[in-house]
Structures are given as C-alpha cells and as structure tokens.
C-alpha cells in the first residue's frame, strides 16, 4: 500500500468516525409524523399542540425519570402532507437519521398504515393517536398483531357497531344510505363494517354510493340516494368533505339526518358546514363535556394555551404522549427495545379520553366511545357507548 492510499484511508476513517459519533444529544427524542398540510391540516395542528403542551409540562418538572437521572424530552416534528408516501418517508427519516426512540402519529389511517409498516420493519415503537383502521396494528400478510405499532383509540369495527346501534335504537332509522370515499382507507373499512352491522341488527342499506378523494360534485350520487328514500345517511368521510355533501344534499331536498365517524371531529366542520351540518350526529373519542378531573385539567390547560377547546385528536395525542412517557419511565432507559417491552406490559392507563385497557400482545386499546351532535354551532354530548 502506497503512502498516499494509506493517508487517504486514514482520512476517510476519520471522516466516518466523525459522522458516526457526532455531538450526541442528551435528550430523549420523540418523533411526530403529522398531517400539518394537505387535506386535513387541522388534525396535524391539534396533534402538535397537544404533544407540545404535554412535554412542556414534563420538561418543566425536569423531564422523564430514567435510571441515572431525569432527561428532557425533545420533539422532532415532521409534516407528512396527509399523503401515504410522504408519511412512509417521514417515518423512515425520523427513525433512521433522526434517531428517535419512538414515533407518535400519523393520525389518518391512510398514512398510519404505511408508516406502521416502516416502524415495524425498523423495530421502532409507533403510536397512532387517531387511526382506527384495523390494518394499522395488524400484519397484512399473517393477520397477527404488529409488535411495534400501538394506537390510542378504539377501532373501526367497534365504531361501526356503535353507530349502527345508535341509528337503529336512538334515531329509529330502518333504511340507511352510505356515501364514502373509495380511495381512502378509513372510509372504505368503515362503510363496509357499517353495512354489515346495520343489516345484522335489522336495518336495511338502500343505497351504497362512492366518490373519489378530491371530488367536489356529489349531485349524481345524492340524486341516487334521494331516489332510494333513506331514513338516514352515513358519511364516513373526513371533515372537509362533509360540508359540501351536506349542502348539496339539502339543495336537492334531502332532509334526513346525517351520521358520521370520528373523522368529523374537527371543529372546522362547523365553520365550513354552517347550517347544513346542524343536527348531524357522529361517533367520537372525546367530548370536552366529559367530567373526569384529568379531562377537565387538560381542557383548561389547552384552552388557556391555544385559545380554543381541544378536539379528540388533541386529547388522544395527549394520552398517547402520556402512555409513551409511562413506558419510557418504566423501561428506565433511552432504548427502543426496552421501550417496546415496557409499553406492551401496560394493561391499564387512565387518560383524558377515558380508561385504556390493553390485552396482552395487542396494540389496540379497549375503550368507550361517545356520540355527539352538531347543534347550534357546537358539539353536544348525546350518549356514551361502552365496549
């Protein structure tokens, strides 16, 4: 080996060592993979606000308690644009190059499913606060639960059951129409599950119509629905589509109530929908009218800091942060594998959205739901539904 090559390789190894070593941050890094832009920016904003509120409080008290002293928590927030491919690359980036110990988010199922695949393959804990699709936490090929993916909310089958029973028993609806986005994960699953449970409990589905993400004109589908003469219309659709559908339906002279899923939960729906969505019902994770002490404190703190009441995404993210913190403290160290182990050991956690119960080996909590009504420009609590 000549001298120049030796010198070159020595220089190269110094560069590599420097790149690997780097100035190591002392904080516990938690990644946030959020929908800050795109179709549902209100969801990402709520999630970010809640996480910042939570960890601000933790850091003020010194940080998370680890073996060898408490450490501050640092949030690494990244935007996934509410797009599946971007969510996957953000997950890859957070885990591989940012070195986060765990990832919170994405919130929409369309993003959480691909991001969950990445988290599972890179062996890093991911917790989606708001994704209700069963596929988020299960392995698509084997059907077994994923080891590293958890969620903070109930799942679609439970939600469909709650809505079907509510429509049949509380609203006395026998004939239902469904209109959903065929290009988005959560609506596809929810519409199929609703159809199944509604008919199994004695109802009849009289129209089952679809549209595609980005559509603004629903008049053809709504004319079909009007022909079918339903008692109720189920819209498992994100909050930004509901106002347009509602308005066009009212213009066509359809006056039956709408019911919706937790994808309606952003207060933006009231602002965008106005009188057209008034009187509609939807199933949700959280209501600011829930009266537990934890919830009251959270609502007060959040409102004081951001000037608006928290929605369910904020509440669920707050709980996801709480669960994550408890697991990190239980693990006692800043380590991905230890964190996963500790998180999977948690059987019960009392959060602001209610009590989480985890079965061994499952990342899906068993928890209650609420049904809310949009009335006079606010979300009004109607009833609770137990699992």
């Amino acid at each position: 080996m000549t001298r120049s090559i030796r010198l070159f390789s020595a220089a190269l190894s110094v560069v590599f060592l420097a790149a690997c070593g780097g100035p190591k941050s002392d904080a516990v890094k938690i990644g946030m993979n959020l929908e800050l832009t795109g179709d549902i920016p209100a969801v990402g904003a709520s999630s970010k606000n809640a996480a910042e509120l939570f960890f601000e409080q933790i850091n003020k008290e010194g940080g998370v308690a680890l073996e060898g002293g408490p450490k501050k928590v640092e949030l690494v927030v990244r935007d996934n644009g509410a797009k599946a491919d971007q969510a996957a690359s953000v997950a890859q980036q957070l885990i591989s190059s940012q070195g986060v110990v765990a990832m919170i988010g994405p919130n929409s199922s369309a993003c959480a499913i691909p991001a969950g695949e990445i988290a599972e393959s890179l062996k890093c804990v991911m917790m989606s606060p708001w994704s209700t699709n069963p596929r988020t936490t299960t392995d698509t090929t084997s059907g077994a639960p994923k080891r590293y993916v958890f969620r903070g909310c109930f799942t679609d089958p439970f939600e469909a059951l709650v809505l079907a029973k509510f429509a049949l028993n509380n609203l006395g609806a026998k004939r239902a129409a469904v209109l959903y986005d065929v290009a988005s994960e959560a609506p596809v699953a929810q519409s199929a599950l609703f159809k199944e449970t509604f008919t199994a409990n004695g109802g009849e589905i009289v129209a089952f119509e679809t549209f595609t993400t980005g559509d603004k004109d629903f008049s053809a589908q709504l004319t079909n629905i009007r022909e079918a003469n339903p008692d109720i219309i189920f819209l498992p659709t994100y909050y930004n589509d509901v106002p347009l559908i509602a308005q066009q339906a009212r213009r066509l002279g359809i006056n039956v109530p709408f019911i919706g899923s937790d994808a309606w939960s952003s207060p933006e729906i009231i602002k965008l929908g106005g009188a057209d969505v008034d009187g509609s019902y939807f199933c949700n994770h959280f209501s600011t009218q829930i009266a537990t002490d934890e919830a009251k404190k959270f609502v007060t703190d959040y409102t004081a800091k951001y000037g608006q009441a928290p929605d369910d995404v904020a509440a669920l993210t707050y709980d996801a942060c709480g669960l994550m913190t408890e697991a990190i403290e239980k693990a006692g160290k800043n380590d991905r594998e230890a964190l996963r182990e500790a998180l999977s050991q948690i059987r019960e956690y009392k959060g602001v959205t209610g009590t989480f119960r985890f079965e061994p080996g499952s990342g899906d909590p068993i928890k209650s739901a609420v049904v809310l009504q949009i009335k006079d420009g606010a979300f009004q609590w109607v009833t609770n539904a137990q699992p």
Binding site: D39, A220, Q248
Partner: protein, 291 residues
C-alpha cells in the same frame, strides 16, 4: 323520468364549469401551441380572490364576478410575461415544465397563506324550486346562464372583432403574421387575459356551487377541463365547450348507472378511444404542414 331530468340538470351544471375552464386551455394552445398547465391553479386562485374580496367588502354578485375576472386576467398576463415569454423560442418541453412549475408555485403560495380550507361567504341567495320531483336552484340557473353568456360573448369576440381576427391569424401562422404588422405580443397577452378571466369566472361560480375552497381544488378540476379541451379538439374554442359538456354528461351518466369507482376509468378510456379515432379531438383539425 324526473330522476333522469334531475341528473341532466346536474350534468349541465358540471359541464358548464368544465367548459369555461377548458376554454382557457384551448385559447392558449391555439395561439402558442403550448399547454398552460398553470391554468387549473389560476382557477383555484380566483376562488380565493373572490373569498378575499368578500371578506373585505360585501359586494353584489355581478361586481364580485367582474373584479375577480379582472384580477385573474392580470394574473394571467403576468404569468405569460414572466414565465412563458422568455421561453417562447425555447424547446416546447421547457415551456410545459415551466407551466407545471408555475402551477405548483401558485398552489403552494396559496397553501402557505391558507393551509385550511375556507368556506366561501354567500353572495348569492339561492332559492330552490321543487317541481314534480325535480329540484332546481336559482344558483344552478345562474351558473349555467353566466357560463353560456360568457361563451357566446367569447365566440362573438373571436369571430367579429379585430383582436379575435388577429388571434385566429396567429393560430394559423405565428411566424408570418408579425410581418403584416400585427402586434403579436399584445395579442398573446390579450389571449392569456381572456383565458384567465374565463377561468376566474369559473372559479367564482365553482366557489358558489361548492363553497368549501382549498389550495388543492385546482388540480383535479384543471385536469378534467384539460381532458375536455382535448376531447373537443384543443385549440378549437367551440370544441372546448363541446368537450366540457360532454365530459360533464359522461361523468354524471356513469355515476347514475355504475358505481362511481368506474367514473374516472370510463372518462379517461373515452379520451383514449376518441384520440385513437380522432387524434385532433372531435372538432380539431390537423395542423397544416408548411413547406
């Protein structure tokens, strides 16, 4: 019967908006032989112009429409002057890439100013009439009426005025027309202004019909209108109108008889079939090769 009549009204409403936007694509292609991919985003911005205008001053509908059309026309002229004119003699692919880039700039500027969807305020109090099972609203009549009115005015402009004649001349031969003393740059600016203004009118009407507006609303509608222009024969103004109504009718018809999943599949297949048999669209004519 009333069911089909209702769907026909839905189709005409949708088709009117597609036709208005398609005109912008067709006019620009006619004079510059280039596809202005930023047109869909110009359409989107006009809805936001209208929103901002109504936020500042609650003006009546006609005033809002005229002010927004004027503002959008100005935007169209600026885009042409800043982005397309320097590249007019560059390879055509550069102009197409620039157009796509322009669209993205407009879209992301809007996104950064307004990441949330907005609800368009009501400037037009719509009344809905229910006659024998058919619902028709005054808003639908307004959309159809304004669109058809603008299209007739444009047709008159192109056929009867000196500017229109110059436009047709440039579309025939861009290189020898200047030799006759026609100010090509002015004519191209006028074309962009009119095309953008029609897109602006479409944006206002669309915002009234579908009052939740967001930065990404131009993409899909822009694509559909582009397809309409191609089906009708891009470069041909009457073809754009025909294509717009045809597309609206096909979309509604498909959702009426099939699951809506098939809608875009059939629409784009239709485009392919038409182009196989009529490569220049329904009313388009092949460009004359000059030797």
């Amino acid at each position: 019967m009333d069911y089909f009549a209702q769907q026909a009204i839905n189709a005409v409403q949708l088709g009117s908006i597609y036709a208005l936007i398609a005109l912008g694509y067709s006019m620009v292609y006619g004079v510059l032989v280039m596809i202005n991919f930023a047109h869909g985003d110009v359409f989107m911005v006009s809805a936001f112009f209208c929103f901002l205008l109504l936020l500042v001053a609650p003006v009546p509908f006609v005033a809002a429409l005229l002010i927004v059309m004027l503002a959008t026309a100005l935007l169209g002229v600026c885009i042409e002057r800043l982005a397309y004119r320097p590249l007019r003699n560059a390879p055509r692919v550069s102009a197409i890439i620039t157009a796509l880039g322009c669209g993205l700039v407009i879209q992301n500027t809007t996104l950064s100013l307004s990441p949330y969807s907005q609800r368009m305020p009501e400037i037009f109090k719509s009344v809905t009439w229910h006659l024998a099972g058919i619902s028709i609203s005054s808003l639908q009549l307004l959309i159809i009426g304004v669109s058809v009115g603008l299209m007739v005015a444009l047709d008159f402009f192109i056929r009867k005025t000196r500017y229109g004649m110059a436009m047709r001349a440039i579309a025939q031969d861009r290189f020898s027309v200047p030799l006759m003393g026609v100010p090509v740059n002015t004519i191209i600016s006028v074309t962009f202004a009119i095309g953008a203004a029609l897109g602006g009118a479409a944006g206002v009407l669309y915002g009234l019909a579908y009052p939740v507006i967001g930065a990404s609303m131009g993409i899909l509608v822009g694509w559909k209108a582009f397809v309409a222009a191609v089906i009708g024969g891009i470069g041909n103004v009457r073809g754009a109108v025909l294509g717009g109504y045809l597309l609206g009718a096909v979309e509604v018809l498909i959702v009426t008889v099939m699951p809506s999943t098939y809608r875009d599949l059939v629409v784009y297949s239709l485009l392919l079939v038409i182009l196989v048999f009529k490569p220049y669209g329904l009313l388009g004519r092949p460009a004359v090769q000059k030797v």
